[in-house]
Amino acid sequence: MASASRSPAAARRQTSIDRTVRVRPPAGLTVVGVLGGVALLVPFAALVAGVDLARLPELLTSASALDALGLSVRTALTATAICLLLGTPLALVLTRLDFPGRNLARALVLLPLVVPPVVGGIALTEAFGRRGLIGEHLHVLGIEIAFTSTAVVMAQVFVSLPFLVVALEGALLTRGEAHERTALSLGASPLRTFLTVTLPLLVPGLVSGLVLTFARALGEFGATITFAGSLQGTTRTLPLQVYLERETDPEAAVALSLVLVVVALAVITVAYGRRGLSGAGVAR
């Protein structure tokens, strides 16, 4: 029944084998390309090889390591949620609203992606530090941001928001607006159109964007240490803990680094797994 009513075209697609002759790179480039891949992977292999398996449980469950891990997960999840709430409307404004300077705005959104994170930290301090542009007024009201967990979240939002916006912009531009126009022509209000058509169609872009956003937030170092400092349990996230342990207990630094690599691998699997990690899937 199901197969009988499928179109012949759909049936052909399912059983199709790609027989196109690929345009291969010249042999010399292939060798260099493989070298490039090796250059990326060797440090990770060395990291895994350098882990002291016997001490691993002890290293990963020390009070400072658990504090850092807990803080990192909490702040990165919070930052990701904030990015979702801020980034979705921002991506919509940048793609669906005509206003003067839109292209400039789209470029500026990428700024935190391009500037060194430590510069982001300085910028955040200038804005929200005790003597900062906004921070001094908050200070008068008794609100302190710098060197608190809030500052950690703000630093993470600052550096990772562009990841989500870029992913959503891509999804919005690829999809076009025809489905939304159809919904409007069927009498739906703009809000109903957004909730029942735009958002569901955005889900794939949202998922990969959020995963990358979370990964960036979890790995944030430069802006955090500059704007939030390194206080155990309050602002010392996993990357900061790794940096600190490097001085005192290099084996612990390696073990904690492994945790971050494993998380990153999980993230890549989620973000790109649906597209298929097999060569053929990517080629098409």
Binding site: S5, T182, L184, L186, G187, P200
Partner: protein
């Protein structure tokens, strides 16, 4: 309802005016680039012409001239627009797609909307596919569902832009016949390249030139 319109889009070389009598179907024909789809988009509210007007019965869809700017958004026009691509919402089942426009038609309860949707799908000969998602439908089945969705929403005017162009040749006669049946008595503007469509569906023809 009577449709009276004049659409001017200079950069596309469009300056077209026509009237469609209530319950009749007018075919817009002409070569590629003559602006047939542009005219439909303007009447649907998907494109804002430089000037011109469109009135559907007593309702002004747009009235644009230097010093005059009246514009009714697409959602308040009661104009059903069926394109070559059925544009079904991919995350909704066929019946949920058809039920989508029933809120405007005043069907308040969800269960009732789904019931009406299934009735329309039955009428289009795809009632047995009500629970399928668009990617599980053939081109012809998807277009039948899209026709059901447009008509179920109770439009005062139906716009058809090459509704049969993307379909496999063997299903075209059936769907053409179905359209002839369901469009009877509805004010319709049809854009088509095919004489067979125009002959079967239209009461009058307005030929555009480049």
């Amino acid at each position: 309802m009577i449709l009276d319109c004049h659409v001017v889009v200079p950069e596309r070389g469009v300056d077209v005016g026509f009237t469609v009598q209530p319950g009749r179907t007018l075919a817009l024909t002409g070569p590629n680039g003559a602006g047939k789809s542009t005219v439909l988009s303007a009447v649907a509210g998907w494109l804002r012409p430089e000037s011109g007007h469109a009135r559907l019965g007593e309702r002004t869809l747009f009235d644009l001239a230097p010093g005059r700017s009246e514009w009714t958004p697409a959602r308040r026009r009661q104009v059903g627009y069926l394109t070559q691509d059925p544009l079904l919402f991919p995350h909704l089942t066929a019946e949920a797609n058809v039920a989508f426009g029933l809120r405007r038609a005043g069907v308040v309860h969800r269960a009732q909307r789904l019931q009406v949707a299934r009735h329309w799908l039955d009428r289009m000969g795809v009632g047995h596919l009500a629970g399928r998602r668009p990617h599980q439908l053939s081109g012809g089945q998807a277009q039948r569902t899209a026709i059901a969705r447009v008509l179920a929403s109770g439009p005062d005017l139906v716009l058809l832009d090459e509704p049969l162009a993307a379909l496999d040749a063997q299903v075209v006669p059936q769907i053409r016949e179905l359209l002839t049946e369901v469009l009877t008595g509805r004010t319709t503007v049809l854009v088509s390249h095919h004489h067979a469509d125009v002959d079967a569906l239209a009461d009058a023809e307005h030929r555009l030139s480049v």
